[in-house]
């Protein structure tokens, strides 16, 4: 990245560091600050960022499945319209006993994100009473966005798939025969090359 003026980012980063000593704060680039926190510090951090640092826009709330470490990474992406900076607040929770607390009291729209993550990853958000069916209907089995869910296997097991052309023949011969046309010389060469 080019060297840009990152004074305001430095200011916010030091302020966060001074308030949350255990947080791992680094400036990714201009307008992006990454904050890694212990999972019990996330609710106070978000409330602090919203009320004192004017990060009042919950832009995104995501989850990444790190199956190798047996952990889910929750990422809150919050934006301050005043400062024009995005903070990515990250924390890790256990994958087997996936539980977290809701942030619905801070942002009303967090409810929707939590409903989705509950359905797709099976994370239980304590305090959110609307974790009902959202996108899927009558889903049984493991939540589909977990890495160990095999979508190809599920699709071939449950749905009828139409057999395709497995011979990979050049269909243009048949098409030209029906239409009584001829494949031009240059195109013939092309078709041979593409088959190799």
């Amino acid at each position: 990245m080019k060297t840009q003026n990152i004074n305001i980012e430095k200011e916010i980063a030091t302020e966060i560091q001074n308030t949350f000593h255990t947080a791992e704060v680094n400036i990714k680039r201009n307008k992006r600050i990454e904050v890694k926190l212990r999972n019990d510090l996330i609710p106070p951090f978000l409330s602090y960022a919203k009320n004192y640092l004017t990060f009042n826009h919950l832009a995104h709330f995501s989850c990444v499945d790190w199956i190798e470490q047996n952990e889910f990474e929750l990422v809150y992406i919050i934006y301050s319209y005043e400062k024009g900076v995005i903070v990515l607040a990250k924390t890790r929770i256990d994958r087997e006993k996936a539980e977290f607390v809701t942030t619905r009291h801070l942002w009303y729209q967090a409810e929707t994100y939590e409903r989705e993550l509950h359905e797709m990853f099976g994370i239980n958000f304590k305090g959110n009473d609307r974790l009902n069916e959202f996108i899927l209907e009558d889903w049984e089995g493991i939540p589909p966005y977990r890495r160990d869910f095999d979508t190809v296997k599920y699709a071939t097991d449950n749905f009828y798939t139409r057999p395709g052309r497995e011979d990979a023949k050049d269909v243009r011969e048949n098409v030209t025969k029906i239409n009584k046309e001829e494949i031009p010389e240059f195109a013939k060469e092309y078709s041979v090359r593409s088959l190799k």
């Binding site: 832009a59 990444v64 589909p144």
Partner: protein
């Protein structure tokens, strides 16, 4: 006397609803008491499918997330990859990208105009605006080969250069569309039926708008001037001269006025882009698409689409395939939590009208 409450299912098969979604309404008389959105009818599991494909193979997938305006998706994924990799994009490609994004914004507004008028019972407007939108679609077809899905923007630049004489065609189309705008004013925006229907309907509280996560034209319709193009300029928006229109009121009418003025701005941006576009390469040399390893890292990128901030959170684990790409469509907030709030107290006949003005696009919600 209190009227008896009834449950009314609006959609998924309903001509007014914006796409395939359902709103479960509790109504007393014809006033909505409680609204609950039900989505998931268009769930194709894009984010799961992207984990099965390489980064480059994900491009045909992402553009199908939003049908009226697919280009912000491609732009977002391309910029996410570029940010993780630190890849530079040639100047010409940046200008072409801005042109594509603005053309698609215009096309989306044209389609919105048809939908908004259709839900108010004005059936002439769609005949005009959807017909005029086809001029833009024709431009896309000449440039990219596809009418709806373009798959034109990719990491490192754009897929092909502008064909000969294309810039003139774009300028001619812009001249034509600009000459049509006063006619649309007469037909639609100054129409007494539309004004009476739109004013004071579907009001978003100005104090709450930012906290509720409202973005795009609905936010600017509340009189709050925020736009990703000026807050965090991407590509070459910082070199272009344009204003971000706002309108006080927060109702359907002010959202319509914001969109109407943005159409003018888009036309002006496209003209500037063509004027300033430098010569040169339109893409940087990229690795073999089937063997393209993206280094470890994550990025959140956002683009201003016709409906508001469109964000992508992409995570790479250093492999061929994305670890996770999570999409945040503007309709994700507008179509669920916001809609449920502002529909309360509205008329049944205004439900589809309000949904249209918020730009609810269900495939963005469930993907």
């Amino acid at each position: 006397m209190r009227e008896k409450e009834t449950t009314l299912y609006l959609g998924p098969q309903h001509p007014g609803v914006t796409g395939n979604m359902m709103v479960k309404l509790k109504v007393a008389g014809d006033t909505v008491v409680k609204a609950e959105t039900h989505v998931g009818y268009l769930h194709r599991a894009f984010e799961k499918l992207m984990e099965q494909r390489t980064w480059m193979q994900s491009f045909p997938i992402v553009c199908r997330i939003c049908v009226p305006e697919p280009d912000p998706n491609e732009e977002n994924l391309a910029r996410a990859i570029e940010e993780i990799e630190g890849r530079e994009v040639p100047e010409r490609a940046k200008y072409i990208r801005v042109m594509i994004l603005e053309l698609s914004r215009l096309a989306a507004y044209m389609l919105w105009m048809g939908g908004q008028a259709g839900t108010a019972g004005l059936y002439t407007v769609p005949q005009w605006s959807v017909g005029d939108r086809d001029y833009i679609i024709d431009l896309f077809e000449e440039l990219t080969g596809g009418r709806i899905y373009h798959m034109y923007i990719w990491a490192g630049g754009v897929r092909r250069d502008l064909p000969e004489g294309f810039a003139d065609k774009v300028l001619r189309t812009m001249d034509y569309l600009e000459s049509r705008l006063p006619e649309y004013d007469k037909l639609f925006f100054e129409n007494a039926i539309f004004q009476k229907r739109a004013k004071g309907v579907g009001i978003i509280d100005k104090d709450k708008a930012l906290e509720w996560g409202v973005v795009g034209p609905p936010l600017r319709g509340c009189g709050i001037k925020h736009d990703v193009r000026i807050d965090e300029p991407y590509e070459v928006y910082d070199k272009l001269d344009f204003v971000v229109p706002t309108h006080e009121g927060g109702d359907v009418w002010s959202r319509a006025m914001v969109r109407r003025q943005e159409m003018e701005q888009s036309i002006s941006i496209i003209r500037q882009v063509i004027d300033k576009m430098p010569a040169g390469e339109y893409y940087n040399k990229v690795p073999n698409p089937l063997n393209w390893y993206v280094p470890e890292g994550d990025a959140y990128v956002k683009t201003e689409s016709a409906r508001g901030e469109f964000g992508y959170y992409a995570v790479s684990d250093g492999g061929l395939k994305p670890r996770r790409v999570h999409v945040r469509g503007p309709a994700y907030v507008h179509g669920v939590s916001l809609l449920e709030k502002i529909l309360v107290g509205a008329n049944i006949s205004d439900v589809a009208f309000i949904m249209n003005s918020l730009g609810v696009c269900p495939p963005e919600i469930e993907r």
